[in-house]
């Protein structure tokens, strides 16, 4: 439709101590300090939930901010991970809450006589944890293969991922006898690994989540610095050129979808542990779109930014959720904020902070052109 605008590179690709890494270190420190500030166990549990959302947003930032793949179905791998964990924990509940022969209660209510084959392996917790990462990852990789091998790009990727999310959501609600349907899987046992009980309201769970988040943030950062991460960013900025260099663009995109889904699945499993149930709302459209908001507000091109964006937005939302009017107004504010961020601050809070830093220490900063330019330079995306 018009000529491509000259592209500004997002940030200097080399050098290890980027502001991004400093941001991650600050975030990790803040996470571990939180239990000393929040004394109430209930608050700790709430805060753990926000961290899980942070992890989910960070996973989206990998595929969206770095790979340029706007996955509107990010809640799909999250929900699948959550269900994997819930299935394993459901099979561990004390017999009172289950039917004859350890059959989950909702199956008894739906006249299911025998445990379905795909439930049986979930007696093993090891299997469940592996499945919670591999199943979402494989599904999203398959979806990525379907899309990217057919050169589906831009807005159509967004629509396809969203539609896929709705399909799985509908199926889970429809297959009530195997999935608990609309109610989800409730009355779960507590996760116990090696004698350590992960109660939703104790600090062990919190430290588990904080540790997983820290490891994920650091690994994500390292990934973004590898050759893989660099080519991914090149694909985001100029897909055509990377292709002409002989790289298999689709393979890179499929891989990042799979990695992002694996992290999202992990977040889903943690979410089940904190919430003590799994429900179809964990993979519905509103949640999926919320992840996009968190990411955009925090800074889609920055892993700690996206993480912090999610914690911030869900934190405020949680604080206001006592009143319906407050919550409605907050949703309105979020909508306005989101539109403004998309229009004027495409790199989110993270971009704002790095711009400010560049102003404060212009001399010491070696990367003065830190403004993250996420604008697509691909006019061919306009259908």
């Amino acid at each position: 439709m018009s000529t491509p605008r000259p592209s500004r590179s997002r940030q200097r690709a080399t050098g290890f101590w980027q502001p991004e890494l400093i941001g991650i270190v600050v975030l990790i420190a803040a996470m571990y300090l939180m239990p000393y500030v929040l004394v109430d166990d209930f608050l700790i549990s709430k805060y753990s939930r926000y961290l899980v959302f942070g992890l989910l947003a960070m996973a989206l930032s990998l595929s969206w901010g770095y790979g340029g793949i706007l996955n509107l179905g990010q809640a799909l791998p999250f929900g699948l991970g959550s269900y994997c964990m819930a299935m394993a924990l459901k099979l561990r509940t004390i017999p009172v809450q289950t039917g004859a022969g350890g059959l989950p209660d909702f199956m008894v209510w739906n006249n299911v006589q025998q445990l379905p084959w795909f439930w049986a392996p979930f007696y093993s917790m090891t299997f469940a944890i592996i499945a919670g990462i591999v199943v979402p990852s494989a599904l999203m990789a398959a979806l990525g293969w379907f899309m990217f091998r057919g050169r589906v790009t831009g807005v159509f990727v967004a629509i396809t991922t969203l539609a896929m999310l709705v399909v799985v959501n509908l199926l889970i609600i429809d297959q009530q006898q195997y999935t608990g349907g609309f109610n989800g899987i409730t009355d779960l046992a507590q996760l116990t690994i090696g004698g350590i009980v992960f109660d939703a309201y104790n600090r062990t769970t919190f430290y588990l989540i904080a540790t997983v988040c820290s490891v994920a943030l650091l690994s994500g950062y390292v990934l973004s610095r590898t050759k893989f991460g660099l080519i991914l960013q090149a694909i985001r900025d100029q897909e055509g050129r990377v292709q002409y260099f002989g790289y298999d663009v689709a393979a890179y995109k499929i891989t990042v979808m799979a990695i992002s889904a694996a992290v999202a699945g992990l977040a889903g499993m943690l979410y089940t542990i904190v919430m003590e149930f799994a429900s179809p709302t964990f993979l519905n459209v509103p949640l999926s779109l919320s992840v996009v908001i968190w990411c955009a507000v925090g800074g889609r091109g920055s892993l700690p930014g996206a993480f912090f964006g999610a914690v911030l937005v869900t934190g405020v939302q949680g604080a206001l959720s006592e009143s319906k009017t407050f919550l409605d107004t907050w949703t309105l504010v979020m909508g306005v904020l989101f539109v403004l961020v998309v229009l004027f601050l495409p790199s989110g809070l993270a971009g704002l902070i790095s711009q400010l830093l560049a102003k404060i220490w212009p001399a010491s900063d070696h990367h003065r052109d830190e403004t993250i330019d996420m604008k697509s330079n691909r006019p061919e995306e306009i259908a």
Binding site: F156, A163, D328
Partner: protein, 289 residues
Amino acid sequence: MQIVFEQVLTGLSIGSILLLAALGLSIIYGTIGVINLAHGEFIMLGAYAAWALKTYVGVSLLPGLVLIFLGVGLFGWLVERILLRRLYQQPLDTILATWGIGVVLQQVIRLTAGGDLRYVELPPSMAGSVSILGVETSAYRIFIFVVAALLFLISWFIIYRTTFGLKLRAVVQDRGVASSFGINADRVYSATFAYGTGLAGLAGAIISPLKSVSPEMGTGYVVDAFMVVVLGGVQSLFGTVISAFSLGEVTGVIAFLQNDTIAKAIVLILIISVIRFRPQGLFVAKVRA
């Protein structure tokens, strides 16, 4: 035979509603290339406008239609001028922005008009039913069919038989060349967007007596409308019509055979497959750039 004819009529009725909902989206998407995720909310605005006009001003539905078309169209014009204009270079961001606008509109309506269901009454002159070849049909559904057909013809006429349409098609084909021939592309885009949103408002107002009016009502319509556009093919008004009525018939048959959820899932998978294997749409023979 009777049952078949009834099915055909039901399908036509669903199809005309689909066409109403999709026409504005199709025009905007086909010309500006913006997937307007707020389209459903513009439909919702139209429905609320019909309700508010009746409740507070006392203007009934039919005379209000012109007002609603102009009002929602003006609103769309403002949205294009103030917001979307800045994002044409970034198609992904237009999705996000229009979706954000949708959220804002929903919340504004929820906070002002309340979250309860509202009802708009049928125009008394069309409350009855008409018998066509022995099948009783509500007069209002026939009215909808006629309006949808009329709006389609008007849109076709504007795009293919007026100077404005000529300019519009020129801008769509090559914005740069069109601009150098003295066509104000910005103005053409705003006008087109306003027209498309006006049509959405009209659709909402006309549909409102049949369905309950709620802040969330738009979500379903945007999905349906998008489905119609994807199946019909971008930049193809005729494709939109054919796909609206075929989907109408298919939906009618599925509703007849039942199992709603699976049907919905199948339709979505169908859309995904169309996007993947036939991105130009089902009903387009050739596509010009």
